[in-house]
Amino acid sequence: MSRYAILLIQTLLGTAAALLLLYAPSAASPFARQFISGIEAYQAERYIEAIEEWQAIADGGIANGELFYNLGNAHLKADHLGPAILWYERALQLLPNDPDLHFNLNYARSLTKDTPEESTPPIVRILFFWKYQLSRRIVTIAAVTGNILFWLLFSGWRLTRRRGLLRAAVATSVPALIFVLTAAFNFYETAHLKQAIILPDTVSVRSGFQKTDTELFVLHAGAKVQVVRDSKKHYQIGYSAGKTGWVDRNAAGLIDAVPPSPSK
């Protein structure tokens, strides 16, 4: 192998290492005290205080499934069903396989008043299991890693003309492509197929922005809705086929509205 090949491989490996470092867990010690205070408040059944502590951490830019799960717990204990389900749903985006989260979310959903309609068909969840079993972050990292690996192997083949490398590159390209397409769909879903949770106990879905507009139907806390459009102060939501209308923005919390990272 020529020294150019070695140099190229070193460069790509260095890039991959930088990528891993960039997304590797980094301690957030300034929030540790607040987090522990939240735990203590929760255990002392001061749920509102626990919410305030953990919410401040989330507002500080920490997007973490376990933190969101705790916020869901505290809201549920404080009888805030809508926010509880919202935080559980946000946690689910980051921890799709956490058994505690599934247990608590199922319990919270059992308290909702509206019958859930039109969830993803089970066959879709089976066929595209990786999308539902892996968090978006993992899918994205797998896509990027697969992509880097493919180009490394392909470059190696280009330089050495060894057939084994070409075969390995082709074999890598298939899962890499699947993950790249899944990640791309996830980005599309985040941008265009927004979902939200109804927060107040009862919300009137109206035909327009005005409070005097006709009430089309009523949703209750915890109902999961599709955000069709949004205006400055309102969301047009869809609950199921044929059920659509406008609600105030404050009445629905976007599931994908994860607090932004302070460094970004």
Partner: protein
Amino acid sequence: MRKGIWIIGLCCLLLSVLPAWAAGEKVRADVDLTTLTPGESLELRVTVQGGDGEVDTSGLSDFKVIPQGTGTSVRIINNRTTREATHTFLLIPKRQGKLTIPPLAVTIDGRRHHTEPIAVNVSAQVATERDDAPDVWVDVSISDPQPYVGQQTTFRFSLFQAVRVTNGTLEPPDFEGFSTNEIKERGSRREIIDGRKVVVTEINYVLVPLKSGTRTIEPATLQLGIIHADRQRRRSRFDDFFDDPFFNRGRVETKVLQSSPLEVQVRPLPAWKGSEPFSGLVGRFEMASKIETTQLKVGGSTTLTVTVQGRGNIMDAQPPQLTLPEGLKTYADAPEEKIQLDAEGYQGKKVFRTALVPIRAGEIQLPPVQLTYFDVEEERYRTLTASLPALSVQPGTDQSVPILATPQTPGTQKKRVAFTGRDILPPKEGLDALVARHPMRWPMFVLWLILPAAAFGLLTLFQRLKQTDTSPSATMRRRARQAFKSAQADRTADPSAYLTELYRALTSAIYARVGRSGEALAWKEAETLLQDNGVEPETARQASALLTAIESSRYSGAQLTGADRRELLDQTRRMIRRLAP
């Protein structure tokens, strides 16, 4: 004269401007009543001139606000067309006293306008002009204001009407903290109240408290239309208040009635300290049991029937636990239930049947059946006991048919595990919860997809650029590589071409090493050239010897064996690598 014309002109101008100035008042609010009694409603109209506006009613904290719709109208004044939108709300005061409808903010085309405040007096005293008893009023009650958790209680909404009403729309309370079920059957009766014939319509809800503590049931709101009878048409004033107004003639006055809030003190169930399990039933129940027959033969069967009946959460009743002795097989049947929901709540019975099959002869004593529930009347746990007679089992007639199955002992009886309590799992306490796990943004993702491809593109470009190096050394190196590849291809097919290409490959490698171009090279010349250009004498000598060997084979016409050719090829490959700069 001229001055007079100016004054008249100015007046005309002012007159023409005044309507426009008046039209400049963008929003205004007015009400139909400023004095009312608790439970009555007033109509608030907010008129917005010009563009569409959004009325912010969040400041109306002293009132319950029920939107009634928006109407628009177009007016033409002095050839100016103005559009007017009127937003109508029904306001129900939440308390007595001097209340104020504060200035309401109306946002029109991004600008905020405010209405004038309006004072409203809500007095417990009925207004003088309405000293008579009301024609229509509502009331709510609850059958037990201090129920236990799980105890059913009935919330009753009653409408009293002394006149005909129509278009009734009831907005029940949210019943936060209760499991709720509306009883479909509505009661209706006639009463004489203060000498007036009044129709009382009752709507009942069964409430089951889910948690202990003080709960407030918010007011229920009923919107209806009061029909002021048409004198030309007489009709019973006791018509159902949900009648279709199409068939009712006369003036209809819309009214909103609101009930009072109710406070419910939900008591927790006392701790159960008994040895037998608590069935989870709360209410008032009875239990009965019977055995179909007590005389039977081995392998025969008899049916044990246990009936639990009463008022309460009978639907949750589970089969009573039977601790039957050995020598009996049991086969439980699906329970039969007959449950009704009436104004008092759920009541009915559940029948559990179990087939008992003896597998040995003799006297089998059956233990009593027990069921523990919480009695809401006695406010204590009660254990119901139903004793069972002994079974007298005779040997079977067909002894050749053995009973293979072992008796089903209560300890091994399997049943579906059900939740005995509901709660959530605890929070995560590890500091891992503080590690930010932000999903990657899409521009970064695209960048990471492009970067390796771009690196590969650069590599390819670099290779191409390298190949276009026209220096003698690069040209000779390329030629050496190509010739060697050709030699490899011709090794078995064409021995002559193989040797020619091998010779070209080696001479090109030597020329590449010394940085010159050339086609042919004598062995002595090759050695000298290499030594002159800093190559070790031994390497130069070996290269020269290899060149001689190739030339000898090439021109001598000697037939090389396959092994010889392979050996020569390997030697040439090694030498080309050694000579590579």
